[in-house]
């Protein structure tokens, strides 16, 4: 593949297709076994990120490496080989920020910044080195649509000045608006190079996967909101457990049978805290959580499961599944009671194995056997296993946090379809997700969690992407100031 000066090039591919490995080679983190890179007519083989930076290649990672308890300027100085004096550095940060519309106060504590602002810190850290190539790994996964627009504007300005941008993302719509070329990787090979504006998002996705993708279908006859709600959460309060966590404030919502209830919002606005309170891993300070009229707010996760409330948290290995345990053991993990996999504490392993085989067959989990460790499965396969484990226990209500996070397009589509099918079968589903398109695709009602507050739910027909974006940013006044 090749990159021209001043172009914004997309690097597309499913998880595990080799995008990260490729950019890590460019950034000097991984050595290629064979082949060579030529940068400005010279052979380029960085042996570490420092050499890459000196040569003019900078990278903004998906996960930020910032210290919460230090200021913006201090964080930036930490990453520099030879930082200038602080007042000079602060001035440079402000100048760079103004030049590209990425405003930042160099003296703010990073811990108080939104995800979008943190990302600006990372970008400005790179820009201070005047890079010739800027690599961005999934930059919008933590941004509201409005914040993303600010970022796109800055990237276009940079490109106009001759900086080449290599842009990694799964979000095909934004690639179509931002990038002038796209290189598509599948299983470690470049399979196509194209102009993304000329292709539909579906065509791009199919090139990535190599097969056609079925968009999840929602039946139009949605559950009607007559009578009593199946699930009612009222005035849940919970203090943040750490300095940089989010406190939940007066969370209330209702879910009726047969519907998919979407909770949008950028991760870090109380999503994990809400999930823990709903699952019973953490007990709320006040409020009620009622399923069929019975309050479950003081019960532990297993008691809630027995009453029909099931969960699939965001983090797979280490939360919803035990990485160093077999799939059979992981099936037992949450299904022990509802599937009667143990009697009087004695585990029936052959029944558990049978249940895990059922999950594997019905949810198309690709694994050599039920004895494999959960961590040996790819993210998408493990997520299908986890979702399958919960759905096959016939929940009355299933709560899922980020159901398709880090999952490839084909698996994501099948997971969404299964969630819709579950709601159609008369149960209900609560989906917490930061992927707006996902929420619009599968939800009947949507509300947004922002800064620990949950907005009023609105039917999906009334909402556009932009509306949800505004709801997400509602409590981030700092952002709107900067945008103006």
């Amino acid at each position: 593949m090749s990159l021209e000066e001043g172009e914004i090039c997309a690097l597309l591919g499913e998880n595990g297709s080799g995008k990260s490995t490729l950019v890590k080679m460019m950034y000097g983190l991984v050595k290629p076994d064979e082949g060579e890179m030529i940068f400005q007519s010279r052979t380029y083989s960085p042996s570490n990120p420092n050499e890459a930076r000196l040569a003019g290649i900078a990278m903004v990672f998906q996960h930020f490496s910032l210290f919460d308890a230090l200021t913006v300027a201090e964080n930036i100085a930490l990453g520099m080989v030879d930082p200038p004096p602080f007042n000079k550095l602060s001035r440079e940060i402000e100048e760079k920020g103004k030049a590209y519309g990425l405003l930042l106060n160099p003296d703010s504590m990073v811990g108080t910044l939104s995800a979008g602002e943190r990302q600006r810190v990372e970008i400005i850290r790179c820009l201070l080195q005047n890079p010739k190539i800027l690599i961005m790994d999934e930059p919008t996964s933590v941004l509201t649509p409005q914040e993303a627009n600010v970022l796109f504007e800055a990237l276009r300005n940079l490109a106009a000045e001759g900086t080449t941008i290599l842009y990694i993302s799964h979000k095909l719509e934004e690639i179509k608006t931002l990038c002038s070329t796209a290189t598509i990787l599948r299983a470690g090979k470049v399979v196509a190079t194209c102009n993304p504006e000329e292709k539909s998002a579906r065509q791009l996705a199919e090139m990535m996967v190599g097969t056609s993708i079925v968009t999840p279908k929602r039946t139009e006859a949605q559950g009607n909101r007559d009578g009593q709600p199946l699930f009612r959460v009222e005035d849940i309060e919970k203090e943040a457990s750490s300095n940089f966590g989010t406190s939940l404030r007066e969370i209330s919502f209702e879910v009726w049978q047969g519907e998919v209830f979407g909770i949008g919002g950028i991760a870090g606005n109380g999503q994990d805290e809400l999930m823990e309170v709903l699952s019973g891993e953490v007990l709320p300070k006040g409020g009620t959580i009622k399923l069929n009229g019975h309050d479950l707010a003081r019960l532990n996760p297993n008691e809630r499961r027995k009453r029909g409330l099931l969960f699939a948290p965001e983090q797979r290995v280490g939360h919803s599944a035990a990485g160093e345990m077999s799939l059979t053991e992981n099936a037992y993990l949450t299904a022990a009671d509802r599937k009667a996999l143990s009697q009087a504490g004695i585990i029936n392993w052959s029944r558990a194995a049978e249940f895990s085989r059922t999950i594997i067959n019905q949810f198309d989990v690709r694994t050599p056997s039920t004895d494999n460790f959960a961590q040996s499965l790819s993210g998408g396969n493990l997520q299908k296993f986890v979702i399958g484990r919960e759905i096959l226990q016939n929940p009355e209500l299933l709560i899922v946090n980020q159901p398709t996070w880090g999952v490839d397009a084909a698996a994501a589509a099948s997971i969404r379809q299964k969630l819709i099918d579950l709601a159609d079968s008369g149960a209900a589903v609560v989906v917490i997700s930061q992927d707006i398109d996902e929420l619009l695709e599968i939800s009947d009602y949507i509300s947004v969690l922002s800064g620990g507050h949950l907005s009023k739910a609105r039917p999906v027909q009334e909402l556009s992407r932009e509306d949800i974006g505004l709801m997400m940013g509602a409590s981030q006044e700092s952002l709107s100031e900067v945008v103006v």
Binding site: N300, G318, M325, L333, I347
Partner: protein
């Protein structure tokens, strides 16, 4: 260039083979150490590892003695392994062993010279209670104040040793002992004596209970929900909470199980082979059991084999001391080497070693 690559799943082959390798390397390193001490390494190794089992003059006495010394190691290590699987680190089994012996022995002596059938079971239960009670101190401090159970349980060993010295000289001193320190000898108190089951072997009830505990642990870990929860807690506290496990109850359960079994080992030892509480009643079983638990890979049958091996080094070490004049510190160094090599070879089951050539360019 040699490169270490982390395996996605630990290799079953290496997990099984590393204890054997560790023993072999210990034999070699130990041999070198004996040579430096001026002893014939082959003879020393042979005296320690071979003579107790196969020497016709010694084996009749030594073979059952191996079982007798292995029994407390098995009991304690089985208990410790439950906690270790859940990442709850009780390092103070030695203290719980002492406290079990003191409470159990104290209860029995309180009834002296009454003879009744219920004294022996009451004494055993008191021994268990003593061990549990002592283990609850680190457990409750961990739950209430998030103290580190490793430090607290270890420090309590030294407290219990002083307590042992105090009762041996004071409260429980034998009134007929003409001023010598130490309690009455329980072997001479029929209702509280844990005597030999087979004449001339020294094998007592504790050996049988240790054998039972091996199978009990296997059943618990393999087939019971509680054992499953222990293993899940070892994976991460977050996932155990998700699975409905109360982490505080898990801390209490693990420390109670290990403390109770250590106390049980203590009271069997006191009422059997040791006979009386004295200042030097404890001989380090509680610490050696940590080695045994790891050498046995926290697996009940592995623990049984490891305990037999450690017991062999005790008996063989004693032989080497009086036959070859080896210092006792050399025997302890040998046991230390065993743990060291075992832990370092663990690396092989977690990582694979591959040879890579430098990339061109």
């Amino acid at each position: 260039m040699l490169v270490f690559e982390r395996r996605r799943e630990p290799s079953r082959f290496w997990t099984a083979i590393t204890p054997v390798l560790a023993v072999l390397v210990t034999l070699i390193a130990g041999g070198i150490m004996f040579a430096i001490l001026g002893k014939n390494p082959v003879e020393a190794i042979k005296t320690i590892f071979w003579a107790p089992i196969f020497d016709p003059n010694l084996s009749a006495y030594a073979r059952p003695q191996i079982l007798v010394k292995a029994a407390p190691l098995v009991l304690i290590a089985i208990g410790l392994s439950i906690g270790f699987k859940a990442n709850i680190w009780n390092i103070g089994a030695e203290g719980q062993y002492i406290m079990g012996a003191i409470l159990g022995g104290g209860v029995a002596l309180a009834f002296y010279p009454l003879e009744a059938w219920w004294i022996f079971p009451l004494m055993i239960v008191s021994g268990i209670v003593g061990g549990i009670a002592w283990a609850m101190i680190p457990a409750l401090l961990k739950i209430k104040f998030r103290t580190n159970e490793i430090l607290v349980s270890l420090m309590l060993v030294y407290v219990s040793e002083h307590f042992l010295a105090s009762v041996s000289l004071g409260l429980l001193r034998n009134p007929d002992g003409i001023g010598f320190p130490g309690s009455r000898n329980l072997q001479h108190y029929t209702s509280a004596s844990n005597g030999e089951l087979f004449v001339g072997t020294g094998i007592h009830l504790g050996v049988i209970v240790a054998l039972v505990s091996i199978f009990a642990l296997y059943g618990l870990i393999r087939f019971h929900r509680l054992g499953f929860q222990v293993r899940v807690t070892g994976q991460s506290v977050r996932i155990s909470r998700f699975a409905g496990v109360n982490p505080n109850l898990m801390v209490i359960f693990c420390l109670a199980a290990s403390g109770g079994l250590a106390g049980l080992a203590g009271i069997f030892e006191l009422s059997g082979p040791a006979g009386q509480l004295s200042i030097d009643f404890n001989v380090g079983y509680g610490f050696t059991a940590i080695i045994v638990a790891f050498l046995g890979r926290l697996n009940p049958f592995g623990i049984a084999l490891a305990a037999l091996l450690m017991s062999l080094t005790y008996i063989g070490g004693d032989l080497a001391q009086f036959m070859l004049n080896l210092p006792s510190a050399a025997i302890q160094a040998l046991q230390g080497m065993l743990l060291f090599f075992l832990l370092s070879m663990d690396f092989l089951s977690q990582y694979r070693i591959t040879i890579k050539h430098w990339a061109r360019g």
